[in-house]
């Protein structure tokens, strides 16, 4: 019997292997190859052009700053929201559903929605004008207001993508048997101590998944930034887009893409190492 059924698992995963191979692995190899080729043969020319570009250092700085501000804020917010949602007795599904609505909206649409709120003649300015706080249309998203622009992007990103962290953390919280918190409470742990000494350590595997996912996506941030700031706020993925479409230079665009991938891989490796749960500490 085992001999006859041994091919079945392979047959079952074959479609996904083919799918990944054709649509992920092949383009990946092609992109890497493209980034290292200029004229004829192996060359670092694309990378030299990328690094020499005026916007390159700015794009690196902006992307990292956004990631370093947005991701920790999202984790803290999601932890708070998840804790509250799991404490709800009634209406929990409804609250969770409302909180996750932004996940169903494309990032470009989300960016445009926030543009409608924050642009010169947007809802924010209308409200501020009505309250007498500003004299007329005021720009928040221009090159002259880099701090306001940065916070506008942070705000839009928080609104758009905190829910994915929330969903992962709620699933993780539900996996922790309630007896652990009860035992901690009986033995004298106050709510904050229970959270830091029991809940957080037991939630580590879910936190790791959420952080990897959110950080990788944060390094790829593009549409929201593009909608709100255009090239006033250069980011790595945006530069790749500009080199691909405006400059028609696929080699430099590929170099940017490979750079983003390398940064994402490094971040993932870091999380896997720092937040690993030793097998003997699993429940």
């Amino acid at each position: 019997m085992p001999a006859r059924t041994s091919w079945i698992p392979y047959a079952l995963i074959a479609p996904s292997v083919v799918f990944l191979g054709a649509l992920f692995l092949v383009p990946l190899v092609q992109t890497i190859w493209l980034s290292f080729s200029a004229g004829e043969g192996f060359s670092l020319e694309n990378y030299q052009r990328m690094a020499g570009d005026l916007n390159f250092a700015l794009a690196i700085k902006n992307t990292f700053m956004l990631t370093l501000v947005v991701v920790p804020l999202q984790v803290v917010l999601a932890l708070g929201m998840a804790t509250m949602v799991t404490k709800l007795d009634k209406g929990r599904d409804l609250v969770l559903w409302v909180l996750t609505i932004p996940l169903g909206i494309s990032d470009l649409a989300a960016g445009l929605a926030w543009l409608a709120l924050l642009q010169n003649t947007g809802y924010l300015n209308s409200a501020l004008y009505a309250l007498g706080l500003i004299q007329g249309p005021t720009g928040w998203l221009s090159q002259e207001t880099p701090v306001a622009l940065f916070f506008a992007i942070v705000l839009a990103e928080l609104w758009r993508a905190t829910a994915i962290v929330l969903v992962i953390l709620i699933a993780g919280l539900q996996l922790i048997p309630k007896e652990f918190a009860e035992a901690a409470e009986i033995f004298g742990a106050k709510p904050w101590t229970r959270f830091t000494r029991i809940t957080l350590p037991l939630l580590k595997p879910s936190l790791q998944s959420a952080l990897i996912l959110r950080t990788v996506l944060a390094f790829e941030v593009f549409a929201v930034v593009y909608a709100l700031g255009g090239r006033n706020f250069p980011v790595l993925a945006g530069e790749a887009y500009v080199w691909q479409n405006d400059n028609q230079n696929y080699g430099v665009a590929a170099a940017y893409a490979v750079l983003i991938m390398a940064i994402s891989l490094a971040a993932t490796a870091l999380y896997l190492r720092v937040l690993r749960t030793r097998p003997e500490q699993l429940p």
């Binding site: 007896e179 652990f180 009860e182 035992a183 409470e185 009986i186 033995f187 004298g188 037991l202 500490q281």
Partner: protein, 349 residues
Amino acid sequence: MADIVIDRVVKEFGSFQALQEVSLTVNDGEFVALLGPSGCGKTTLLRIIAGLETQTSGRVVIGGQDVSDLAPRKRGLAMVFQNYAVFPHMTVFENVAFGLRMQKAPQAEVKRKVERAAALLHIESYLDRYPAKLSGGQRQRVAVARALAVEPAVLLMDEPLSNLDALLRLEMRTELKAVLREAGTTTIYVTHDQTEAMGLADRIAVMYGGKIEQIGAPLEIYATPATRFVGGFIGSPPMNFIKVRCSHGTARIGDAALPCPTAAENLELGLRGEDASLGPSGSGIPFDVRVVEPMGSHLLLTGAIDGQLARIVAPPTAIVNAGERVGLTVDPARVTWIDGTTGRALARA
């Protein structure tokens, strides 16, 4: 050390009444078992004492202090959970030390008390291990050590042995009794296993349908059950209940005559299987044997008295065959009379 007074505690979940005005006093240093089938409210009562559940009405007083509205951590108690709830991300040492750490005890005291609790439960050699590396029985020991390390005034145990296999359960039961006697802690122990309750407790509170049916010492509950439920729930085989007619203070079954109380309309004779001794047919209460099961220490006879199912325990050497009719001699002082209408025991005639 502290006594526990449970004063008319009621718990409702929506329209379902899980506890109906339960009152119970546990003396300082006493071991009381809450015994009953699943759904009888015993775990709910324990969780209310712990503060993990809030009573709908009534009070819980521990050591003279009304703790009804206090958070669990302010009640001065420790608890052992059914699934142990040993923290997987901490070593055995840190698990046992958890309560002391929360009290901000100095390191030297933590070490001393953890080592003493560990020695009591024989887990000294696993102190640096993580719980995942331990067997169920070892985790159970860690959970008990964690509870004893804080030297609690009150120890609550929720079915602590039910996840262990039968042999380990027997071993842990014996050990728990010795350890807890030494600690002298006031203990409330929830179980559905009558042998655990009988073996461990100073007193047993038998619960059924959200009420305490009877409170008493194990042998008292065994010998003189207050209700038909208690007689049927305690003892293996359970107490037999035979419908009889009582006229002029005497109940006649076959050739046997027993003095009976006349107060009840429907009278039932409650008879423990081992309180009847076997004689030849024609003497005493006629018993038609249908099945004979040799259990090693005794013979278990299943049959009928006056057409009603009964189980009798006979000495292992007795010679009885299925299909035979034998006579049972019963000591009138050892039977229980039950009012068949109310299910309550009647005073002896």
